[in-house]
């Protein structure tokens, strides 16, 4: 493939999260900053290489036009990705919140209500035994 389609395909794919995306783990020597910073630098390097290859093989006007087109490609991809990411973050927060609230409610049932009901039941049984014993002394147990 010539550099121009490779370049444009790379930019289009970078902005496309619709299909399945398989991740690969790579070892990095000396990456300063967070993983996101390192990844950003790797992408910057890759894109710079793509542009360099394009610049080496095409006229300046072609390169300029490709860069302007490339900028339009990434700028059109940014808002939907940004929105989808924000929406996803909200959904995750909602699920996590629901799980946490439900978890607390379960903990109250499991650790407070059930032991207390069992304790009440024990007390009721003891009281019933005592009442029956008292009634037995009067001949009225049953």
């Amino acid at each position: 493939m010539t550099p121009l389609p490779v370049f444009e395909e790379a930019l289009t794919r970078i902005g496309d999260a619709a299909g399945p995306v398989e991740l690969e783990t790579v070892e990095i020597q000396d990456g300063k900053g967070s993983d996101d910073d390192v990844r950003a630098a790797v992408y910057a390097g890759m894109l710079d290489l793509l542009i360099e290859r394009l610049s080496n093989e095409a006229e300046q006007e072609v390169v300029a036009a490709a860069l302007v087109r490339g900028l339009r490609i990434v700028r059109s991809a940014e808002p939907p990705l940004h929105f989808a990411h924000a929406e996803q973050a909200n959904t995750i927060r909602e699920h996590e919140l629901a799980a946490r609230m439900r978890g607390r409610s379960n903990a109250v049932t499991r650790d407070w209500m059930i032991p207390r009901l069992r304790r009440d039941i024990e007390a009721y049984r003891a009281h019933i035994r005592a009442l029956k014993a008292a009634l037995a002394t009067t001949g009225g147990a049953g």
Partner: protein
């Protein structure tokens, strides 16, 4: 120091094709060095109108494109990895409902109904004891009623099975169809 990071495989393959003859580790290291240089000290801030950039100013165009594409790649990565987080969050929520349902359906009703029945039995026996002249307050061990869980009006929740729903639906349509 070595660290492991994740990158979409298709982007790594693109990088490997750009740097043939290098191992993945070498290609990533090369891109990292080059990219760090490109990004260092060249943050142009929010995107300017493409039309406002001189199309002959390749340096600015190139820098802007790299900066903005990197940002988009970051959003995409966050979205992709977010899918796993979302699945995990859904799984945790579902598990919490299942646990709650198991407690509310299998454990709590039995205990509450048993407690309700025992309280009813106590009232009955106390009534008979009073009738027999027994001071029920003196019969031990005493119960601190205010500290017990009130279950006298408790009715267990009704859970419908599929067959219940089906039978009701059939009955409904039989009734409606009979008009």
């Amino acid at each position: 120091m070595t660290r492991a990071i994740q990158i979409p495989r298709e982007d790594l393959e693109r990088l490997r094709r750009l740097l043939p003859g290098m191992s993945t580790t070498q290609a990533v290291a090369e891109a990292l060095t080059r990219g760090s240089r490109v990004l260092a000290g060249h943050d142009d801030g929010p995107g300017a109108d493409v039309r406002a950039i001189d199309p002959h100013d390749l340096t600015t165009l190139r820098r802007r494109l790299v900066q903005e594409a990197v940002e988009v790649a970051g959003h995409r990565f966050a979205l992709v990895t977010g899918l796993d987080r979302r699945r995990e969050a859904v799984r945790r929520e579902l598990r919490s409902y299942e646990e709650g349902l198991a407690l509310d359906r299998d454990v709590v009703p039995g205990l509450k109904l048993e407690a309700k029945e025992l309280r009813r039995r106590i009232r009955q026996l106390e009534e008979r004891a009073r009738a027999a002249g027994i001071d029920v307050d003196a019969v031990g061990p005493p119960i601190r009623w205010s500290e017990t869980i009130h279950v006298d009006g408790y009715e267990p929740p009704r859970y419908e099975s599929d067959s219940d729903r089906r039978a009701r639906t059939v009955a409904f349509f039989q009734r409606v169809g009979g008009r």
